[in-house]
């Protein structure tokens, strides 16, 4: 039976049919008809305080739950405010559907009030996008959008809906399925390739599994563990792959790449076989490409054929869904009790180069122990969401991740301002779970307005600010590679400071803002922490608080992240510690 509905009604009904429960959205002129229908609907609607906050929250919701995130914005500025969020989600293959209002069809192309060509703008940062031209097409387009966003290699899809399309009435029927002629992801790996891969694995003496975010997306963690344990292969993960493999396992090498562990980077550099799973050989992972894994043959398993062979030549490519392919592979690999290079790997592990003193050189807190304290207090069971910078790398290094989807971070795009709103989305999608935001003092200020969203929705995110009074990661590069010329990275700097200053000191101005006062203005409890012995009790108070809580941790200002592969360097050329002066 069909019934006549307006486009806005079709929108609401279609979303229900897709099983959407939560929407992150911000109203405006061209989405008024939709908001009028949402007023009577059962969706949980979260109003962020900036569209960028909305889309990052939808992204955090999606990454942590595996469901497709939904965001709504109005035309023009509302739509352009989504751009960073779309690019962030696209880089990390996050399923999102973004709906934007658009000026009425007859005004398209006339530079009408709040008109922006968002389909044109978002073309290279979405998996696909649509401009709806007829109300008759709306339901089908929504169906397609969710199908594309959530299948194959997931990604964001944008649907731009002119206002007149929302108001026109047509008969509504929702398609059960869609068949897209130009989109047929290949899920099944080629049996012959899988067989070859198994043979290679069985022959190898120094194999390494290199697992990326694709393992998490595919839900293949247990298959990965089986393979690792059956064939006794050590596993390293990428930043977005953290949690795909239990880091407490003996076979875990931790993260690889620019700030990866010694054991991971050394193992990759000396392996005779690399089994790359659900990953894409990002430049932050490989270091100098010519010298990446020179001694190894490479098996690459990924659902996106365009990633296979894009940066690195592959010996055995297997295109398809990671989970299914690993299942098949597991049937064919022979069980081993150990491998030839366990002791070598142990030697590298013993070098443990993450810096981890109780207290920094200048009497301020050291970041590592704070993160380890969170790990121990939550027994490793919290969601950890980060911003971007040094604190992000410490979060990757010092917490032992054991579950997929537990670690939420902007990897590919490295978006400052992502973490805080994303943590709110994580909490919305996981109401009972402990959610920690580990933020830099710079990044946190990029979407600080979302404190209102946290407060008003009583989202009990525990915000831990690593307050080093610098754009620390950039300052680290300046210190190490640009003669310590701290150009525009000091967050305490005022207009009357000397024109050039690279020596933080006693007389420096106070940090602006005072984070705990900002939190208080939003009605959020907050504490400043300066002493190591206060860290644990403060974290306990934060966890005991039923609402959001902010901890402003004054950490060592010039602490650096190590190990570090210098930009353009090879993985085995890691810098392990500070040069002593």
């Amino acid at each position: 039976m069909t019934k006549r509905c307006t486009g806005a009604e079709i929108f609401v009904k279609s979303l229900s049919r897709e099983g959407v429960e939560t929407i992150f959205g911000y109203p405006g002129g061209t989405v008024l008809p939709i908001y009028d229908k949402l007023y009577d609907s059962d969706f949980e609607h979260i109003l962020p305080h900036h569209e960028q906050g909305g889309i990052h929250a939808a992204d955090g919701y999606a990454r942590s739950t595996g469901k497709t995130g939904v965001v709504i914005a109005t035309s023009g500025p509302g739509a352009t405010n989504l751009v960073t969020g779309l690019a962030t989600a696209y880089m990390d293959s996050v399923p999102l559907v973004a709906f934007t209002g658009q000026v009425p069809s007859h005004m398209l192309g006339t530079d009408a009030f709040q008109e922006a060509d968002i389909t044109g703008i978002s073309m290279p940062i979405t998996k696909h996008n649509y401009l709806v031209q007829k109300t008759e097409n709306l339901a089908r387009i929504i169906k397609k959008a969710f199908h594309i966003a959530g299948s194959g290699r997931p990604g964001p899809v944008l649907v731009d809906i002119p206002k007149d399309i929302m108001m026109q009435e047509v008969e509504f029927s929702y398609p059960d399925r869609v068949d897209l002629r130009g989109y047929k992801p290949n899920y099944r790996g080629h049996p012959l390739q899988i067989k070859k891969a198994a043979e290679k694995i069985n022959q190898s003496r120094k194999p390494v599994l290199y697992a990326g975010g694709g393992v998490i997306i595919s839900g293949a963690s247990s298959e990965l563990r089986q393979l690792a344990e059956k064939a006794q292969i050590p596993v390293t993960t990428t930043l977005t792959g953290l949690g795909a493999f239990d880091e407490r396992s003996r076979l875990s090498l931790g993260m690889l790449g620019m700030h990866g562990s010694t054991e991971a980077n050394m193992a990759i550099s000396h392996a005779d076989l690399i089994i790359a799973v659900g990953c894409r050989f990002d430049d932050r992972v490989t270091g100098k490409l010519d010298e990446f894994a020179q001694e190894a043959e490479i098996i690459h398993i990924d659902i996106d054929p365009a990633e296979v062979g894009k940066r690195v030549a592959i010996d055995i490519p297997i295109v398809g869904d990671v989970k299914g392919i690993l299942t098949e592979l597991n049937k064919k690999v022979t069980e081993k009790s150990g491998n030839g290079w366990g002791s070598q790997i142990q030697e590298w592990k013993d070098m443990d180069c993450r810096k981890c003193s109780e207290i920094g050189e200048n009497g301020r807190l050291s970041p590592g122990p704070i993160i380890e304290e969170i790990d121990s207090l939550t027994e490793g069971e919290a969601f950890i969401v980060t911003e971007v910078g040094q604190h992000q790398m410490w979060a990757a290094q010092f917490f032992k991740y054991s579950h997929p989807r537990q670690f939420i971070t902007s990897g590919g795009l490295g978006t400052m301002g992502y973490g805080f709103p994303a943590s709110l989305g994580v909490q919305v999608g996981n109401k009972e779970a402990p959610v920690f935001l580990l933020a830099g003092d710079g990044s946190f200020q990029m979407n600080i307005q979302e404190l209102a969203t946290a407060a008003k929705n009583n989202l009990p995110v525990k915000m831990v600010i690593f307050n080093n009074q610098y754009l620390g990661m950039v300052r680290q590069w300046q210190e190490m590679f640009l003669d310590k010329r701290y150009s525009s990275t000091c967050l305490r700097r005022r207009a009357d400071c000397p024109p050039r200053c690279s020596e933080p000191g006693e007389d420096c101005p106070e940090m602006i803002p005072e984070f705990i006062k900002v939190a208080e203005a939003y009605g959020i409890k907050a504490e400043k922490i300066t002493e190591p012995e206060d860290v644990r009790p403060a974290l306990e108070r934060a966890l005991a608080e039923p609402g959001p809580y902010l901890l402003d941790c004054l950490i060592e200002v010039e602490e650096n992240v190590f190990p570090m592969v210098p930009p353009g360097g090879s993985l085995y050329e890691m810098i392990l510690e500070e040069e002593s002066e």
């Binding site: 389909t119 044109g120 073309m123 290279p124 998996k127 696909h128 401009l131 594309i148 897209l180 002629r181 130009g182 989109y183 996106d304 054929p305 365009a306 062979g309 894009k310």
Partner: protein, 159 residues
């Protein structure tokens, strides 16, 4: 190396923009491109001539395939195929040179499509080499204006 790639795409608005955006973003070097309708109303066909190594070409094919609006990508560089492009050449021609020019055009099975006092316009269809040769021969008379289409191609036989 030059490659000829035939791409079947959806016949809908914005398709060319998607493809152009992909080429510029990924830095593919397109020598020529021509788009037109096919025997199916909802399908258009793009013929591309691309420069690059085998590896670049492989990426281009894969990236094109990722676009939802792209139905099929075929590299027909090494297939037996017929390919043509067309050109108009406006060349200086006065009383004394006009008949020479007409002779050249005849040899190439071109056509004079317009005659003015001091110039003629030549239409020529053929593969790239033929059009280049024509251009070279007409050069000494003085080429006033030249326009060329992109190449279109089709494989021979049933395929």
């Amino acid at each position: 190396m030059k490659h000829t790639v035939a791409v079947q795409v959806a016949n809908e608005s914005g398709v060319l923009a998607r493809i152009a955006s992909l080429f510029s973003r990924r830095g593919f070097n397109i020598e020529s491109l021509s788009v037109g309708q096919t025997e199916k109303e909802d399908v258009s066909r793009i013929t591309l001539v691309v420069c690059g190594s085998q590896r670049v070409l492989e990426q281009l094919e894969k990236q094109l395939n990722k676009l939802i609006v792209v139905y099929k990508v075929s590299n027909i560089t090494n297939d037996p195929a017929v390919s043509r492009s067309m050109a108009f050449i406006k060349v200086r021609a006065d009383y004394s040179t006009r008949s020479e020019i007409i002779q050249i055009v005849d040899v190439f099975r071109g056509e004079i499509v317009d005659v003015a006092n001091d110039s003629v316009m030549v239409e020529i269809t053929g593969d790239e080499g033929k059009i280049n040769a024509m251009e070279e021969l007409l050069e000494p008379y003085g080429i006033i204006e030249l326009v060329r289409t992109g190449k279109i191609a089709m494989t021979r036989g049933k395929k």
